[in-house]
Symmetry: C2
Subunit: 335 residues, 2 copies
């Protein structure tokens, strides 16, 4: 038996904003699974900002996508055939073998999932997956949010930001301020997600809008954007403030990097901590997160949106839309 799969490859490293021509959709016959392997048909693929980094040039200790090789990323799929005792046809599994319609791989590359009543399978790529864990790690471990603190979240209508804002409130923040790139997203933050205040960063100066939304400053900044947001947040942070740097979309697709924050001296004056993180380094928090998130979702305390692109052909578009801020909530590709 053979199985025909389609897979996206990076055909050249993007300069600045990636273009469709940087990618190639390749058709390939997959072999039947060997002893210990399984064949999985993907049903949802994840597209995430960090992938832009993996498209860039290699640096010591920072792996990138090889050229002309199937890209990787989160995926939820269903086992079609298995020669491993741990997996049976029909099983729902999570893997990092995304950007393709199907994959044959050793069984250890797949994690069996239990379906959650009322949740779409794609939630394992979002609220219940690495996206939700990113929000949790950033708030709980990196920024060490304490009850009663004020939190600012940039890119707050995005996948991670929208979960981080709701979590911050549930973890006891007394104020949660968000920024987003349209009036519609701003309304979504305050009316549906329970943010205390929000502003449209395209409608005016970030610095002035943040100062107005948080007149007494903030203790925690969750950064999804970088650039002028980071500079404004450094000014708004109070003594002993912490910033968790989860991503920096504003810089990902610029070949000329954005100007850096001119107020770094505030780190000394106000004893601030800026810390970048990669969720994969914090998998030890996953069990605690999964329990907590499972109960928040079951109680209806957290809501989420998805931007769904349909069909493998649309994966690059979904990714570019993410970089351009066209998505609200988690961006996924449904196959």
């Amino acid at each position: 038996m053979t199985y025909t799969a389609q897979e996206w490859q990076l055909s050249r490293r993007p300069e600045g904003r990636p273009e469709p021509a940087d990618f190639r959709l390749v058709e390939r016959e997959l072999p039947a699974p060997d002893e210990g392997e399984a064949l999985v048909r993907n049903s949802f693929l994840s597209v995430d900002p960090y992938m832009r980094v993996l498209m860039g040039t290699a640096q010591p200790g920072v792996p990138v996508y090889p050229l002309n090789w199937p890209m990787t990323g989160g995926a939820v799929g269903v086992v079609v055939a298995s020669r491993s005792p741990g997996l049976s046809p029909g099983d729902l599994v999570l893997s990092d073998l995304g950007w393709r319609t199907a994959a044959v791989a050793p069984a250890r590359r797949f994690t069996r999932l239990e379906r959650v009543p009322g949740m779409p399978d794609s939630a394992f790529l979002g609220a219940l997956g690495m996206t939700g864990l990113s929000a949790y790690v950033g708030l709980a471990r990196i920024a060490q949010l304490e009850p009663g603190e004020r939190v600012f979240i940039s890119g707050a209508a995005g996948a991670v930001g929208s979960l981080a804002g709701q979590m911050a409130r549930l973890l006891g923040a007394k104020a949660v301020i968000g920024s987003a790139g349209s009036e519609e997203k701003v309304a979504y933050l305050t009316t549906e997600l329970g943010f205390s205040a929000a502003f449209n960063y395209k409608a005016g100066d970030v610095h002035a809008q943040l100062a107005q939304a948080a007149p007494e400053g903030i203790e925690v900044y969750f950064d999804n954007v970088g650039g002028d947001h980071l500079e404004a947040a450094i000014d708004a942070l109070n003594l002993d403030g912490r910033a968790a740097l989860c991503g920096a979309i504003s810089g990902y697709h610029l070949s000329e990097p954005p100007p850096g924050p001119r107020n770094m001296i505030e780190l000394v004056k106000k004893r601030l901590t800026l810390r970048g993180f990669e969720v994969g380094d914090h998998m030890d928090l996953h069990p605690r997160f999964a329990r907590q998130m499972g109960s928040w979702l079951a109680e209806g305390q957290i809501t989420f949106r998805e931007t769904v692109e349909h069909g493998i052909k649309g994966a690059v578009d979904a990714f570019l839309g993410l970089l351009d801020g066209r998505n609200t909530g988690k961006a996924v590709v449904q196959l």
Copy 2:
């Protein structure tokens, strides 16, 4: 009995680099000490980079020097008269009542010091004082230096930097790289202080010189300078690297702040932590530091230099010389 003291006051807030005209030397008659007070004649005054921040505009939670009021700072002095049981004439004491020849204050403002054989009294403002503690806190607590790591120290011939470099080696660093502002200082670092490598940041591009001095990168950066040094260090830091931001002289006397690091995205890619600190928040480490530093000094493991200005009239010059990088090691004023 009255006692005539001279004291420096800030007469206006400096724009950019402070000028002598921003300060005023005032003569004042001190009252005799009241019950519980002591009169102390200062013998050494400390001038430190952080004082530039205190000359600036007030921000919430960040106290500054009031105008037309005696400035404060570290000082070592001798008790002249006391109406407190804890202090006797002739006692050597430490206080924050610097920038003046003498002071009358409640006894709790003065800490009695034990003279250390072979050490000048000024050492309590430098190696044995807040300067040494700053180096220790930055390495041990803020950057969490581990044995076997590589450390870069900017402004390494300065008061804090020269101690931090020697301490890093004693704490087990496998390489200690320093930058300084003249060939003479660079030679001092490698020949007298035991730095593994050093470069003159005025002789070429910091980024290129650091890359050459640390071809395999660094794990820890101790920042005394800010600006282009910080950007270069962010590029040189390896995965999970930490930067302790102790001061940023390059930005202190600019009214237009220096450009910020354009590579903040590296914080996410390499999971870096940047943390500013103020030594006064970490006095709990003082006992551990004092024991450790005392034995290093007694064993001759740590050496230090001082740049000494003589006379109260020279205090402002000593401070401006510090901002201009004219000092090597700790800058003090001897009265």
